[in-house]
Amino acid sequence: MNKQINTTNDPKKEAAEALPGGGMLLSSSNPVEEDTALLKETFKEKYKWGFVTDIEADSAPPGLDESTIAFISAKKDEPEWLLEWRLNAYRHWLTMEEPDWAHLKYNKPNYDEIIFYSAPKSLADGPKSLDEVDPELLETYKKLGIPLAEHAALAGVAVDAVFDSVSVGTTFKDKLEEVGIIFCPISEAVHSHPELVKKYLGTIVPYSDNYYATLNSAVFTDGSFVYIPKGVKCPMDLSTYFRINAKSSGQFERTLIIAEEGASVSYLEGCTAPMRDENQLHAAVVELIALDDADIKYSTVQNWYPGDENGVGGIYNFVTKRGKCQGDRSRITWTQVETGSAVTWKYPSCILLGDDSVGEFYSVALTNNYQQADTGTKMIHIGKNTRSTIISKGISAGQGQNIYRGLVRIQKGAENARNYTQCDSMLMGDRCGAHTFPYIEVKNKTAKAEHEASTSKIGEDQLFYCNQRGISTEDAINMIVNGFCKEVFRELPMEFAVEARRLLEVSLESSVG
């Protein structure tokens, strides 16, 4: 249940090495049993109101009520205030309706059937060797350039003896601790740094924020916690590999990143290999706080299971991500490459409160087959001289639907605020769609907001031109698409950009022709 977290400059390699649950899963002889014993006790003390769930179980029964929440909270041995917070969220959630303003068509999840808490499968339950793994999946890993050693790990093969995770994890942890950085699962932070969690949790995305964020607040299972102290530049990119532990951490991640005055950090959230996750709903929440002169760069590569070529299955990715530039001259940058999920509903946003603060949003969203993405950002300018940049690239192929939805709001006091928005769509074939819904609200006369939009079709002419120079159609498509996404890819850390490129190539395979 602990999220596997690692610090790394080479995400692929480190993630591979860190596989066996980062020692977190394997560190004790039988962690599940131990946990449960502990839980039993805690539970008896704290929750006396008719909670009937069998805590011996590794999973909560399907559906959601107050006892499910108590169960989750008890499993994590949480303090009273957090349980209260979860319950408040749950009670509020009951009064809310699932939003339907997005340009999306899907069957709403049946919340009575969802299992909201599930302990990790033991590694021994997985396939015993690569021979038992779907060959198509292995082929994709190969195309993504993932080292063979890692294939087994990704496919969930029991490989506990292969990787030396503990040493790697510890080395980085030591290095970070030296400069006072806290980087751990949020469930751990609740115990080790309760004052920080209590101070910031829900301050950027309140539990009442929106349907999915509220649901997340009630039931979140794990996520990352990052704290960068005053003046510290994080010496390496921090990354969380959901692909390693998604099965254990479930569908409701919650991440909280705090950068104190003058601090800076680059955080990578990624799953560059496809996750054959059967969970239908992923409702995550990410909160970022940047104080004076702080700088947070948050990069995501999302490749959840998109469903098959007929639109069957796939993840609903309903995510709330928001950052607050609380301090003067602070900066928050969101970069996302979204290629997976059947349905994406996601608007990483910035609240530009501090004077001279900067918000940036760089996005590539690709929809193929029957995928749908309604994604964009909100830039709320409150402080003086605040600046925001939005670069959105939507690629639609097959029968995919790609929607950019963005809000630029410049409040009354935001003297000299500036926004630049560029919103480009590329269509491949004639059955897909691209839609743009930009909202611009300007309440200050000195402010300037610019919006540029374009729609292009990956033309026969472009392909023929490339072919005529000896370049194959497949290479030509990759070249044209990569060219289209260049402004976003250059915002990604190097290794991530390379993987993102490969991912687009794999996702677009045989989409034209």
Binding site: F464, C466, N467, Q468, R469, G470, M479, G483, F484, C485
Partner: protein
């Protein structure tokens, strides 16, 4: 006897069901420069596109042999690799892709096809510098995206430069002179002339005789309504200039050209 570089026999081609080429015959030997002239809509650009393998055109009859192989069997990219180069009338822009990157991909795709080793960045840049000079192309232009924001003259010079880089056996120039002033025309023509060799053949498609003052053809053909109605030497181009296409008499059944 030498194998013809290009041998087009009774070529018929449609686009969207409309027949454009109605039985074209043309033979180009290595080292020869053939000019194709003709009024608008006569099928000149279609001929160029069909040779290069544009999918929108359907070949309904006839054959094209290139350097001893059946060209119609090959996809457009394979034809390029086999040595067919088309200098486009309207070169296409590719946003976000630098000209250098694009050309390196092209050069290496072709080298791979020929069984040659791919060029590394250093060797490639050396080659770029050498070839760019031959068409007086500023190297800076090559850092810009493919054809994006190029002037008309820059686009055409870039096409000739690409031809020099890719070293084809057959260069098809589709109205490379259109939209060029006289100075630009001279530079482009000079670039082409430098590429003339005993092995390489050219098909130069143009409306105007003017280009042929600078790229002197061995043969001139008049394409009218999808067939070659008259063939001759350079003097035919001058005759056309004087009389216009309307004044051209078909050479009749005795001539091998139609």
């Amino acid at each position: 006897m030498t194998t013809p570089l290009l041998e087009i026999t009774n070529l018929h081609a449609n686009i969207e069901g409309k027949e454009i080429l109605k039985g074209v015959n043309l033979t180009v030997m290595p080292g020869e420069v053939h000019s194709i002239m003709g009024p608008n809509g006569s099928g000149k650009s279609t001929l160029a596109s069909v040779i290069a393998g544009h999918e929108a055109y359907e070949v309904t009859d006839g054959s094209i042999r290139f350097n001893g192989i059946d060209l119609l069997e090959l996809e457009a990219d394979q034809r390029a690799c086999a040595g067919v180069f088309l200098a486009f009338q309207y070169p296409v822009e590719i946003p976000g892709v630098s000209t250098k990157f694009f050309l390196k991909a092209a050069v290496n795709a072709i080298r791979k096809y020929r069984g040659e080793e791919e060029l590394d960045a250093m060797d490639f840049l050396d080659m770029v510098e050498e070839k760019a000079e031959s068409v007086s192309l500023s190297i800076d232009l090559l850092d810009r995206n493919v054809n994006e924001g190029f002037s008309g003259g820059e686009k055409k010079r870039a096409e000739v430069f690409q031809m020099a880089m890719l070293d084809p056996l057959l260069g098809v120039l589709d109205e490379t002179d259109s939209g060029l002033d006289i100075d630009a025309l001279k530079i482009v023509a000079e670039g082409v002339n430098k590429l003339r060799s005993k092995k390489r053949g050219f098909i130069v498609i143009t409306h105007y005789q003017r280009l042929l003052d600078f790229i002197v053809p061995d043969f001139v053909h008049v394409l009218k309504d999808g067939v070659i109605v008259k063939s001759g030497d350079k003097s035919l181009a001058l005759e056309l200039e004087e009389k216009g296409y309307a004044g051209i008499e078909s050479c009749g059944s005795a001539c091998s050209c139609s």
